[in-house]
Symmetry: D2
Subunit: 367 residues, 4 copies
């Protein structure tokens, strides 16, 4: 069977990128390079900017409004990389026109609008996906695989730190700016996704910027694990580190150490598990406490461009009719935590309950 | 004037060490080496252990009860290194006998008992001091000096991390075990000491050890600064790092990096401070946001044994009649936070108000 | 005076890039973005490759031979990014046609051919420059400035390590592949350039690859300083570190640490310099040895694209008629060391004398 | 069989420590703590210093001359920690009296004197051992075990760096001060010990201290591997790192990183070994070059005091009559390299041949 015949079976999907600003060019470049896709249009209200991007990506059409885009030549899907507050209207319009949609994070600027998008896509039978790019990096996929294979055992706690001297954003606080990364990653790698009982947030605005510039999130999980996230725009040092402690082993992901991005430590404390006693033994109230001090292991990681994988999985989701790993429901779980975070901040850091509107089991089965 | 004459003016003070277990030997060794002190007795209920320690520290007397110690030969002061729950009765007895007292941390096992000790010492006119050893390290003294000299400007936030694979303690949780270090250090280095409005604590006990093994503390300060502390017994990696962010510069203390323990970063964000605009400029709602990206500086540190300085300052406090840097009031501020921490933990992480029973101004003036 | 008038005074220079393989696209992109330059042609024997590059750089002309290029439209300068063995014939042809020339490193594949190029350019009155890109990075320029300002004092030794798991090159050994970087950098930052008395080389080929894959160079300088360079294709870890020890301070450049690329240590040993005794004092044969243990300082670095600065300095050199920092003479000093390295390797690591055919003083005055 | 009976079979050996200066106290402390040994005397010309040490180590006898020591009470063995130039006469006297001897490094101050000691001990039938302490550390023993088990494959090269701001020694240059560590370690961990064909040394004395303060050693091995050692007293940073590259894996030992002292990298280049091609493939002259980019692994290390193991192995050697791991022959191979180093330095860095007076096979069989 020839490649041409193959192409007939799987003809390239036609996509338009809406928004030619900061992130749009990355999406356009990856769609243009993908054999799954044909990039047919760039849409931006700034025609010159759209034109410039089109020139660097194989000269797709240029349009200056979503109306024109949808009225014009046929597209199967759109990728939206516009300001967050415009995600909802543009995506609703595209879904309404029967298009598959991938949206730059966050899915929407409120959880309610996110829910509308998910419902609309479900009704229209189209694929809705968030571009949570970290979930398509070699490191995060490896972490998901290791946890899925039981290498860490039961997850006991997660501690994530994402701090640096960052741009004080005009519209959102540091939680909405940085925490979506941590939350989307955790929803992706944890065996049952992000299943938070509640969220308590501590924030501070020491510069009087009018919004939290440093923040801490506590997210007790249904499993009993505690997830903690630290985000900060005012740190002189840059740290991107996530510790995932399991009953068997603990994984540390240091994204700024290219020579050893992931370390898996066979170190920990065991209570009352005498069969695993290796090094040292102590007893407490009839319970045995033992300390494991084993080897450390750093798996090799593949190298590939995350956005290349993302556009490929978007295509797969469309072709197979099954949700993408970072589908609308996943994006919604992230939005729910962010909204509860804002409520907790307003209520002096009290725990805000998270009624999960997205049953985890159901969602996960679909993955 | 000869040295002999000097000795007449400042004869060595006579001290006994009570408790020859884990920490007592360190205290005994430093008292024995100090020209300020004469180590005259070791007291431990285990005579053999006391004898062993005495042999290595110049053969002071050995006694097996505090009664015998106080009834016997004359001592000016006692150093108490016994289990925490016994600090209060032993110290009360010593103060009652008119002795100066230094107590291993924590000062007492409850804030109420700590207050009793402080009151008793005040009434008896004796010196009461906590051995918060970190406050006598070269790094912490340098940090206090830098902050005191205004090098960091106004303190905006503090983030302290003290985690490692540690012993799960039989009697106390991770907050009472590790956080006293962070709290005592902050009380020592911050310009007005630890002046917390309230404390909110998040803890987790993922191993069912019966107590929190990982914990997070949020301590808003009267100054507006947010102090956050992370303590953890279950971390495979060891971190001892404190970030003190100021309006002018930010200091990072990494106690496990002997080649660069302290770094001072001239990096940060300024709002509406146009006179300091250096690198990049953006405006927001008529407010100017500017980013400083200046040099980093790592001061050289002296080298000396912290406990040697501690015993010397204990002698100075006795001779001058002025409080030591880590006096009873300071230790009490630490205990107050620890007690509020336990209350917050029991109340789902709600902020527990800290009525400061120790007026900061008054205390600081005495230092 | 308007910008248009300015443009008349300084019209953009016209340049062609020869070679559209690995490095040519970087050069083409930077010429295309520069206001000093107009990129008028891409030349490659592979027309398709040249066309592809032209499309991404503003559609300059495409030609497939140097003859056509020089016969065709007017160019002021050419940038040569072809295989090393072709640098000499192409550059000679371009110089013969009166063009200014910048050549990817190394200038030529032998020192003799390098000398021919330098002589030809001198005779023709054209600018000849090597693209030693590292010399245009913020870090290296800062190092040059610090040394030039006397911050390090007299240079005592240099130790440079450039190792990683690298491609075993088909044509050259590890010395010719990696050491040109270290040598060009040192020629640029040292006050009198690279003024080596001799070179001794140790190499090893443990895989029987037919050439040295790991190597060590010792380069005693006329000043008395010892320069040592370690290059290695077989190291599992990647290190890019240069230590420049001076009589006053020592600089460490760690190019893989973006958070602290340059550290300046006020630490060292002083002999017989009693006025600087700070910390510890010992005497030896009537000579005082003292140890300085001062602060460490890490200067902030500007951020700019090195190749952008390189093409700008190429333009300046042409307009002013003065040599560029990495002119032909500098490139020749690098080639001379590389040739002597090969001779030392063939002679069991003996020191091979370097008769400097490029008087340092003369060259430096021109800079 | 009771412990008492055991003690009859293996009564504690009686040892005296000669020299109570810098290193003697460490030896005395470990002999005093060992069940294999009874510390019966401290010998030092400075009676007060000897007395002070005796007080801290269980009050053995104090003598002020080796004559008195050997004439007095019975000892089985002596440990010599006096200045290097006195090692030979003291050890000769002790061997002459039939004592087993362990000597602080270096064994002697010249290779000839070392050979005399080895010959004398052989003739007298006593154990002669050098206290190359590093060979008894957990890390070095693990390295020896890994190499011995074939985990690294055939050794291709070794690169050792031992630099810091060190004391400029009055009597010896930096090679004799620091390189004995590297050489003794390599003699211990390499499968056939240190089997150097020749040695070439580059040194520099940029401070006019009258001796080399920085140095580089190249030691081609009979196996074809190249050993390179860098020692330096003038470095502002402290590095203790040894890379041992093998055909299968490469080990990096970073002794200053307690959290990951040993890393084993499954990374490297394979030539013509097509069965191992894993990641990337290239061909060259009919030869296949492939790159392995596998996992990294850091083995857990036991924790014990190296000197405790050393004194225990000294006892075992005496009891079994078999050489200790760091016996006289091993120490002699270190001395031979050091002497050849000095000759190479004096001869402008030329390779000085090493005729091996100690056949490797023979020696190793005995271990």
């Amino acid at each position: 069977m020839s490649i041409a015949a193959d192409s007939t079976v799987n003809p390239a999907l036609r996509v338009a990128v809406i928004g030619a600003g900061y992130w749009g060019p990355n999406l356009a470049r990856n769609f243009a390079m993908s054999t799954d896709w044909e990039l047919v249009a760039i849409c931006d209200t700034d025609a010159e900017r759209a034109q410039g991007l089109a020139r660097r990506t194989g000269n797709p059409d240029v349009v200056t409004s979503v109306d024109d885009l949808l009225a014009g030549q046929h597209v199967d899907a759109v990728a939206i990389a516009t300001p967050a507050r415009t995600h909802h209207p543009i995506a609703m319009q595209a879904i309404g026109a029967g298009k598959h949609v991938v949206v730059e994070k966050p899915l929407a600027d409120t959880a309610a609008r996110g829910r509308e998008l998910v419902a609309a896509a479900q009704e229209a039978g189209t694929i809705l996906m968030a571009d949570h790019t970290y979930c398509y990096t070699p490191a995060v996929i490896k972490i998901r695989d290791l946890i899925g294979a039981g290498e860490l055992g039961e997850i006991l706690y997660v501690d994530s730190v994402r701090i640096n001297l960052g741009l004080v954003q005009p519209d959102v606080d540091v939680f909405w700016d940085l925490a979506p990364h941590d939350l989307a990653i955790l929803d992706f790698v944890l065996p049952d996704g992000l299943q938070s009982v509640s969220v308590a947030a501590e924030g501070a605005d020491p510069l009087d910027a009018g919004k939290a510039c440093i923040g801490y999130l506590s997210l007790p999980q249904r499993s009993g694990a505690l997830v903690h996230v630290n985000v900060n725009w005012l740190s002189p040092t840059k740290i991107r580190q996530m510790v995932i402690c399991g009953s068997r082993r603990t994984l540390v992901w240091d994204d700024l150490n290219p020579q050893q991005r992931i370390s898996v430590f066979d170190r920990g404390v065991d209570l009352g598990r005498q069969e695993r006693v290796l090094d040292d033994v102590a007893t407490r109230k009839g319970v045995t406490i033992s300390y494991r001090l084993g080897d450390t292991w750093s798996p090799a990681l593949s190298e590939f461009e995350p956005l290349g994988l993302m556009v490929s999985q978007f295509a797969s989701a469309i072709r197979s009719g099954t949700p993408a790993p970072t589908d609308g429901h996943s994006a919604l779980r992230v939005l729910n935590v962010l909204e509860a975070t804002s409520r907790s901040l307003a209520d002096h850091g009290r725990h805000v309950s998270l009624e999960d509107p997205v049953p985890a089991g159901a969602v996960r089965e679909e993955r």
